[in-house]
């Protein structure tokens, strides 16, 4: 391991645990993720992958331990500043979390509008990102009328539309056929090349195999034998 400068660390976790009522999801996690890293988190169902990601974007707060993102301690972030923290992330949720009463276009535009972008920019940007994920022409569809894979691609489009510094992708290819999955993985890699830090939680062996990168293996909330592979 090469010595790192303090400012190189984007995410640092110190003895982080998360337990729910009568259920411990993560135990004593300590790890660092540097800027522009590409990390895969894997592990069996219920291992705590989603919970790990939730702690980063403050979807849950850690029961114990400290998390620093870009040098800021998450436990010190005020309620008011949470939205601004979240804008540094692009999140692909495992269950997509699309708003069913809004069209595909509106769902994606929401991110840009919330960040205060101009209407014309929003229009252009949303259309271009939909083209990239292969969902052009479905602008005005509502999510419930989309197939599982189509919804997932909309969720991906929403995650990347704001050019986030950090992309959190929870099982981003779970509902996708191998070809579409490849397109998505390439998209994530492209953002990685442009400078984003990418964290993917996945079971997909194919994805892990073809993506030579650091793999964090969780099992019942503990990190298993960490191995680092630099790409």
């Amino acid at each position: 391991m090469i010595e790192k400068n303090n400012s190189d660390y984007l995410i640092r976790m110190f003895h982080v645990s998360k337990s729910f009522v009568a259920k411990s999801a993560l135990s004593d996690i300590s790890l660092d993720i540097v800027k522009n890293e590409f990390v895969i988190i894997t592990g069996p169902s219920g291992a705590g992958k989603t919970t790990f990601l939730k702690l980063l974007y403050l979807g849950e707060t850690a029961s114990q331990g400290q998390i620093l993102i870009d040098g800021k301690n998450l436990s010190r972030i005020t309620r008011k500043n949470i939205p601004f923290l979240r804008r540094t992330f692009g999140i692909i949720f495992q269950d997509y979390k699309l708003i069913h009463t809004k069209t595909v276009f509106e769902n994606i535009a929401l991110v840009l509008e919330a960040a205060g972008n101009k209407r014309s920019y929003v229009q252009k940007k949303v259309k271009s990102v939909l083209r990239i994920v292969g969902m052009e022409g479905r602008n005005n569809s509502y999510p419930p009328s989309l197939s599982g894979g189509e919804q997932q691609r909309v969720a991906i489009a929403r995650a990347v539309v704001g050019n986030p510094k950090i992309i959190l992708a929870d099982e981003p290819t779970g509902s996708l056929d191998p070809q579409s999955a490849e397109i998505i993985v390439n998209l994530l890699k492209k953002f990685h090349k442009r400078g984003a830090t990418v964290i993917i939680a996945t079971h997909d062996r194919e994805l892990i195999r073809t993506t030579k990168s650091r793999v964090i293996n969780l099992k019942e909330g503990y990190v298993q034998s960490p191995k680092v592979i630099t790409i």
């Binding site: 939205p83 009463t101 929401l110 509008e113």
Partner: protein
Amino acid sequence: MIFFIRRALQDMNNNKFLHIVTIIIITLSILIVSAFSLFFINANDLMESWKKGIRIMAYIQKNTPEVRILDLKLKIAQTGNVKDVRFISKEEALELLKNQMGQQRSLLNDLNGNPLPDAIEVKLKASIENWEEVEAIAARIESYPLVEDVEYGQKLIGRFTNIFQLFRFIGIAMGVVFFMASVFIVANTIRLLFYSRHDEFEIMRLVGATDGFIKAPFYIEGIIQGAIGGIIGITVLFISFWIISSNIDQGFSSYFFSIRFLPFKLSFGIIICSMFAGWLGCFLSLKQFLKT
């Protein structure tokens, strides 16, 4: 701002069913409040017209010269709460009495001379609130020199005046209760509406929207719904009023008072309150649902 209004309208369009049902509920609540107000206002008018029936007769000592009577009349007219005074000569009084007595007037036919005194009839202001006030004024008048005696209405009307007072008190209390109930119905309806959408708030927060950004269109929606519901409610009431009153008015009311619609200010106030209720509903629900 325009951006948020656009978003609010778009959202109402996306959730038509929910919003239509909400507006129906608001409309009905406003209808209840405004119908009651209308009823109450007119019942109150009726009571006022009734109260005008209260008169105090001040009987004047015999053989008082005319000038002094005029003085007295002026003095009485300047007494507080007196609206109008009228001199009634003993001749006029006898004539009136004969008319009043109906069948029994035969009694008065073989009268020698007129034993009645001259009198001053005192009409009171409608602002009189209860019988005690009437009694107080009468006592005051009785204390004036030259006034031999006072007589005021039948005790009956006095008692009814008190009941009117009770009626008005209860009416206002009920109006307040209905009003608050309606505001809470509207507010809770909007809470129900938002509860069914709290996943949506959650998603918006997760993608980095500030609370303000999320709330703004919902407040606008709540206020718009309150306004639409209020306007429809008042309009429905107005149309019903117009249809009913144009059939009934001639028959009954013209004698004593005439039926009237809610004053414009009140209608307007009700609509404003309906909007406030919409706002309140948002306030309560958003406070609740935007907790972390």
